[in-house]
Symmetry: C2
Subunit: 252 residues, 2 copies
């Protein structure tokens, strides 16, 4: 008979890291057919627009998610290190930040940035998935919240593939429109190094390792569910009531 | 018969601002006997230490309170403007910030900064008051949360009085130990100008003006309750179980 998880020995640091990385290899959304289609140049302009509109919902909530995390951290040093994530996404009062760069992409694909920013037309399933992530970070133990952020470990690969694929296949792609992804290539590794070490240090029982792995799995679900909804609505053509219809929110 | 508040006309902008300022004149904790005692040079060294230990609980939660606010703000511009409050209090990864300056004050009055930072010995009533404030900002409408921050309108006066009073009456007082208050003299007016305008702009019905006034009143209660608990415990000498006792947490 196996010992219950709470009594069994934790995995070694290396074995636990390998377990987390395997979650990415098996479940990260670089494996989703929508991304293959996008990066391979097979998306129609309206499919690209639908992706930009819906992914905005995720981007725009990331600083709120990180603030929810900060609001629960008593350790000032941890807060100070985490705060740069909000700065990276929101930017300064006047300029910079991932959110503004995402809106530059929106403009490049022919969308009115104000329409995208309004969130009108976002698929309800996207909204639900993103809200689930923000709530998770607000309500779950800090270890789980940090572990959920570790999908960033897998992001540089998809960003590099995306930059290459978009530049090759789409007219809108250039240094300005893709600046969001280029910046993330520089920002994500710093966040990952800190977050991964923090999780490896703090998941010091098998029970906590299980919780961290479950949190990272949950986060891959959050990302995957958004692309499933996008595919169903805009590749298969089943746009739900109230969601964006091609032609809406385009630049005059 | 008077119309119900939700139907009556709102106060003019000037009248509403005057209503908010009156709350400070009548209820801000500069009126509390503990502050008169502190600024007048009548506190014993241990009373000063008790104040430093307990006020830390408030200072240390302010960045968490502001992060809780950020986590609820969908408007990126508002988030960008609010974020400087967290920066002012937490400082950078290596240096700066109100929290570190408060710990410099702790050291100057003979306390071990690590003891103060631990929060051990803080009066339960202080903890409850501070937690009530953080929860208020997390749970209440944004207007109420911003209005509660407007005690900052009344802070420069008390900080100036405090700097003068402490310098005159206490040996520990110098530019280093009082740097927290000097910095707040510069930081608070910028926050107040923004927050006050935001409240005046957004409280566009009498019902909302009432809610904003109630929020500011609540916040004056949060501050006052901390000094009542301090007075009862350390001036009158009724220290509750588990709270700091003179001699604990002092520098070797």
């Amino acid at each position: 008979m196996n010992a219950p998880s709470s009594l069994a020995a934790p995995l070694s640091r290396n074995a636990f890291e390998a377990r987390l990385r395997r979650i990415g290899e098996e479940r990260y959304h670089d494996l989703h057919p929508f991304h293959r289609r996008l990066h391979g140049g097979d998306c129609t302009p309206d499919e690209v627009r639908a992706w930009v509109i819906n992914r905005w919902q995720y981007q725009s909530r990331i600083p709120m998610k990180d603030a929810a995390f900060l609001s629960r951290v008593v350790d000032a040093d941890l807060r100070r290190r985490w705060r740069s994530r909000i700065e990276d996404h929101d930017g300064g009062v006047e300029e910079g930040g991932g959110i503004r760069r995402w809106l530059a992409l929106a403009r490049a694909v022919g969308l009115d940035p104000a329409y995208v920013e309004s969130g009108v037309g976002v698929l309800p399933a996207t909204r639900f998935a993103v809200d689930a992530y923000v709530r998770f970070v607000r309500d779950m133990p800090l270890l789980d919240a940090v572990a959920a952020s570790l999908t960033e470990m897998f992001a540089p690969k998809i960003h590099a593939e995306r930059i290459e694929g978009l530049l090759k296949h789409y007219d809108f792609a250039d240094d300005t429109s893709l600046s969001y992804f280029r910046n993330r290539l520089a920002e994500a590794p710093k966040d990952v190094a800190f977050g991964l070490n923090w999780v490896l240090d703090h998941a010091d029982t098998l029970e906590k390792q299980d919780a961290a792995a479950a949190a990272l799995t949950f986060k891959t679900d959050v990302l995957w569910a958004q692309l499933d909804a996008l595919w169903h609505a805009y590749v298969e053509g089943h746009v739900p009531p109230g969601a964006w219809q091609p032609g809406e929110g385009v630049l005059a």
